[in-house]
Structure formats: structure tokens, C-alpha cells
Subunit: 249 residues, 2 copies
């Protein structure tokens, strides 16, 4: 059985721990955490450590910490081993040269205390040595049904795409909520529409699913909408996204 | 039983017809359509007409046609009756003065041949005469569990909010797909993330759900992302939405 240890105690680390605890194909050896209290509910306290000197040998170390700390954390691992980070935007080669390097990138937005079905989360994999790819693939396949190879350039592009469909989409929800609030309407009114927007994209291409005044080139409605918006920033976003829809072929 | 006739044969008309055919609380009398062939699957051909002279009397006429045609269509109805349009952005008073005016606004994105559960669709109602409100409320409640009063100013604002969370969100999906395509990645990789983004907003506020480099003020990642984007339009949207997230409190 492949022995895996995790370094980190944030959202990604916690969700990985939960996923590995549910599979028999991987042995979760230890979790090294600056904040052990975040992990107490997830595994036995004997498996939680906070000092690199307590690290046991494992087949794979997964570093799930904030981007800027990855390089330094990899230097602290006191063995020469297979080491992967989980970041979408950091190059594989920031990992210390005394390790065999890899990337283990789960493409998802993790929220504290909100369980996710890891089997549906795509995991993008990259390894410095071809012989290590099989190891990280086995580990990823133990928790996800959607495992794929991805090089660093593709991974960075995928991360940007994820910012558009996740972070920026959520900000559009925020603007929708702000407009509702300004006009004494509950944000809940928009939720069925938000759900259907997502349901459509599961069965149609974005081009097929696109509707609205921008797509129809309905200039009268566009101008009426801009007149309703009081916030200069909302107006600028409305204008730019309307133009972008109209330019898109 | 309330007798309702519909004028129109587009997406909204078709979905309303389907919904009314499923309820016993409303009698769908006739549908007047320029394109009767769009309705053949939905109701008996004897109920489909294409000439205003064939219109029978009903308690409520619902005009579900393109915005610019609403005023003209309302003039063609050869009775003085209760008449509602279904538009998010058109004032109630464009309806002909020889009718009692109303609005019957289902807040949803309708796709041809994709069934929707009408019971979950919010319907915003407005009537010129208070005594008519009960009629449109009964009709709306026969097909939806989410019926609410909304004045014209609120309705127009809600329509703008809908453009942000539906049309503009779909365009962000388009950009995500374009970036995937440019880097030889299947758009399907993003779908679990899109679903989770929506699942989060059902249980968290947009502010609680917001994550990402903009929210974290992670300037290094933001600059790396802008360097990856080759399209000037994508860069402009990335920059504007990042600034908007950072300005938002």
C-alpha cells in the first residue's frame, strides 16, 4: 500500500485528509500541521505532528500549504523523497532539488466545514520522473474518478480559467445580491436562475447557452439597464461584458 | 376556474403552456401563435390559433412575445380584458389602455426542449388594479411555489441582476472554455468546479463564498495570470473584475 503524508492544515489539506481516510488504497501516515487543532476531528491525534523531526518515512509527501510557503516547506522535509505540491499556479521546480518533484492539483474550491465529493473532483498530475507518475496516479485514483496528466503551462492556464468560472462568477453573484439589496429584493429570488444557468452548461456549450440583451444586440434594453445601475463599477462591468459577448464568435 | 389564453410561441410561451397543461387550477383556453408548429407537441391543435379574430373570451391574456412587440400585440386583442406581459424590462403601461394591465414575470432562462420545474421558478406580479392582483396570483400560484409582488422599478432592477448572474456568468464560462481550448484541455474539467461554485452560493452569502487571488490580494498570482492571458479582452475583464472584488466590502 502506498504510504502518504500531508503537510498543511488549511482547506485543501483538510479535504485531502478526509478523502484519504475513506480509502483503503492509500495509507495516510501523518499530517504535519502548524495548526493541529484544525485536524482533530479528522484523524487520530497520534498521526498529527507539528515538527519536521517527527516526520516518518513515506512514499509520497503532499505539500498543501499557501503558495509562497511551498519552496521553504519542501526544504524542511528531512528525507530525499517524492514530494508533490497542490497549487494551480506554482511551477513544479520550486520544490527543493533534493526531492523527486511532482504536482497533485485538485481543481476545486474548498470551503471549511462544507464536505465535497472528492470522487468528482478532477486531479491534474505532473511528475519530474516518468517512473513516479504511476505512484501519484495511484494515489489520485484512490480518491478521484477524474485523474489526468497536465504539464505546468497547462496547469497555470487551467488555474486562470478556474478564476473566471469560480472567483469571478461568484463576484457576479455578489453584484446580483447588491442590486437586489438596493431595491429591497431578497437575493434568494435569483437562486433558481443561478442553478439553471449552471444546469444548462452541463448539457449545452457556452455558445449555445448564451442568451440576453447583449447576445440579441438589443441596444434599447442595454441602455435601459445602464440607466438603472447607480454604481460606476457595476456600469463598467456591464459595459465590458456586454461588448465581450458581442465581439465573441 | 380561471380561464387563461396565451399569445406567443417562443420559449417563454412554450414553457408556460406546458406548465398550465399540468395544473387543474387553471383552464388554458387558447394559444395564439405566429408559429403554430412550435406548439403542436404541447396541446390539442383545436386550441392553437393564429388569428386574433378566433380569440375567445378569457379571464386573463398572457402576452409572451418579444419586448418590442408587446404594445402592438396588446392592441390586437379584440376585448377589454385583464392582460399581462411577461417581460422583465418593459413597463406595465406599454399595454393598451383599453385593457386592465398586469405583469406576469417568470424569472428564469428558458431553453428550447429543455424541461424546467416551473414550481421552483419565482414569478413576479404587478397589476394596475388591486382587485386584479388576486387573479394573477391564483394563476401564478397554480404553477409556481414562489410568487411575489414586485413593482416596475424593482422588476427592471431584478432583470439587470439576472443579466449579471445568468448572461454574464455564462460568458465567464465561455472564457473558461476558450482558455481550455487554447491549451488543449477539455472544458469538462471545469464542470465540477462550476457546480460547486453554485452549490456554495445556495448555503453561503457571496461575500462568504468569495475566494481567489483577488480576494487574497495576491498580486504575484494576479500578475502571473495576466501574463498567461493572450487575449486583450480577457485581460481587461480579469483586471476589472479583480479590482471590483478588491474594492468590494
Amino acid at each position: 500500500m502506498i504510504r502518504v503524508s500531508i503537510i498543511g492544515s488549511g482547506n485543501v489539506a483538510q479535504h485531502l485528509v478526509s478523502a484519504f481516510m475513506k480509502t483503503d488504497a492509500v495509507e495516510l501516515v501523518q499530517v504535519l500541521a502548524r495548526h493541529p487543532e484544525h485536524l482533530k476531528q479528522l484523524l487520530d491525534s497520534s498521526q498529527i505532528i507539528s515538527d519536521y523531526h517527527q516526520l516518518q518515512e513515506a512514499d509520497l509527501y503532499i505539500i498543501a500549504v499557501t503558495d509562497n510557503a511551498i519552496a521553504e516547506v519542501s526544504k524542511q522535509i528531512p528525507f530525499s523523497k517524492l514530494v508533490a505540491h497542490t497549487s494551480g499556479s506554482i511551477a513544479m521546480n520550486v520544490l527543493s532539488d533534493h526531492h523527486r518533484k511532482a504536482v497533485f492539483y485538485p481543481l476545486q474550491t474548498f470551503t471549511k466545514n462544507k464536505p465535497v465529493d472528492f470522487s468528482r473532483i478532477p486531479i491534474g498530475l505532473e511528475s519530474e520522473h516518468a517512473s513516479d507518475f504511476e505512484i501519484i496516479k495511484q494515489v489520485a485514483s484512490a480518491i478521484s474518478d477524474h485523474v489526468f496528466a497536465i504539464d505546468s503551462a497547462q496547469r497555470k492556464a487551467l488555474h486562470v480559467a478556474a478564476v473566471f468560472v469560480n472567483n469571478f462568477t461568484n463576484h457576479l453573484y455578489q453584484i446580483g445580491a447588491d442590486i437586489c439589496n438596493e431595491h429591497q429584493l431578497p437575493f434568494d429570488i435569483l437562486k433558481p436562475l443561478i442553478e439553471e444557468t449552471t444546469a444548462k452548461i452541463m448539457v449545452l456549450s457556452p455558445a449555445e447557452a448564451q442568451t440576453g440583451p447583449a447576445k440579441r444586440k438589443d441596444q434599447q434594453t442595454i441602455e435601459a439597464h445602464l440607466a438603472i445601475l447607480n454604481d460606476a463599477n457595476q456600469k463598467a462591468i456591464y459595459t465590458l461584458l456586454t461588448q465581450s459577448i458581442q465581439k465573441h464568435e
